[in-house]
Symmetry: C2
Subunit: 138 residues, 2 copies
DNA sequence: TCTTGACTTAGACAACGTCTAATGTAGGAT
DNA sequence: ATCCTACATTAGACGTTGTCTAAGTCAAGA
């Protein structure tokens, strides 16, 4: 993730302390935080950071393709730092935790042309739902 | 859909004019409306219907399994009257319209056991994204 | 027809996200 | 090293979507 800052500077980004902190929060483990969680964790490192800046920075990172926006339910979007490798999501129906998974095969192949209704299909998202080990025993 | 009202009465529902109108709006073509769109169309038939009632009725129909809630983006949820047949969704990235599609093959088969992390996987949702004919020319 | 508990209503409230105008600052120019 | 300025940040208003509450209404059984 340290080279993320390099990449961003290469694209003309100003490296402000706020952007550095947001990048640092997204780095590390692979939990997918909501924007508010990112803001809360960023504020531990830089108390005066504003919500607007976190939203702005997340939006910019998404359009640069550095992170992915995931909305598996109707609630707050979550941000997935693992944007450089194609993957899908396995979501616990009970507690909402998300794991990245890598299904095999061509996901687009299942949709025949006569089922595409003239759409230019560009992407496929698959969400597997079930109970995680913790929730299935409890 | 007329038998929907019968089924609901069988489950102890009071058949109010508001619920009748919401069911009527959901019937017919297979577009997936947002709650606000359902409210607007219901209000054409019954002008004094309130937003709260529409939300309540939609929620009740969802928990009864009569319709499906679809949230393909972070925006408003849409309601799919075609809840009794398994299907997936094709979404326009531009305007958000949704079509029901029926991909071939076993969608669960793509996820090998070592990628399930001990989850009891119960369901798969697939969202195909692309531009609809209207948006790709405009 | 009466009664009652379920239903509906208006509008306040909550969660999530966006926008604006004023202020601050990174980093190139001097 | 300092200055300049365009870009970034901020607080808070605002927008959208959805939920909740208290008071009034009504479907349907007695």
């Amino acid at each position: 993730m340290s080279d993320l800052l390099e990449r961003l500077r290469g694209r003309g980004w100003r490296l402000t302390s706020q952007r550095r902190v947001v990048a640092e929060v997204l780095d590390g483990d692979h939990v997918h935080y909501t924007a508010d969680e990112v803001h809360a964790k960023a504020a531990e490192l830089l108390p005066e950071i504003s919500r607007a800046t976190v939203y702005n920075t997340l939006g910019e990172l998404v359009s640069l393709g550095e992170i992915m926006e995931v909305s598996t339910d109707g609630r707050a979007k979550r941000y997935d730092p693992n944007a450089h490798h194609a993957h899908q999501h396995l979501v616990c129906s009970q507690c909402g935790t998300i794991r990245d998974v890598h299904p095999t095969g061509d996901l687009l192949a299942g949709l025949p042309a006569e089922e595409r209704f003239g759409f230019q299909v560009a992407a496929v998202e698959v969400t597997y739902r079930g109970l995680c080990p913790g929730c299935s025993t409890a």
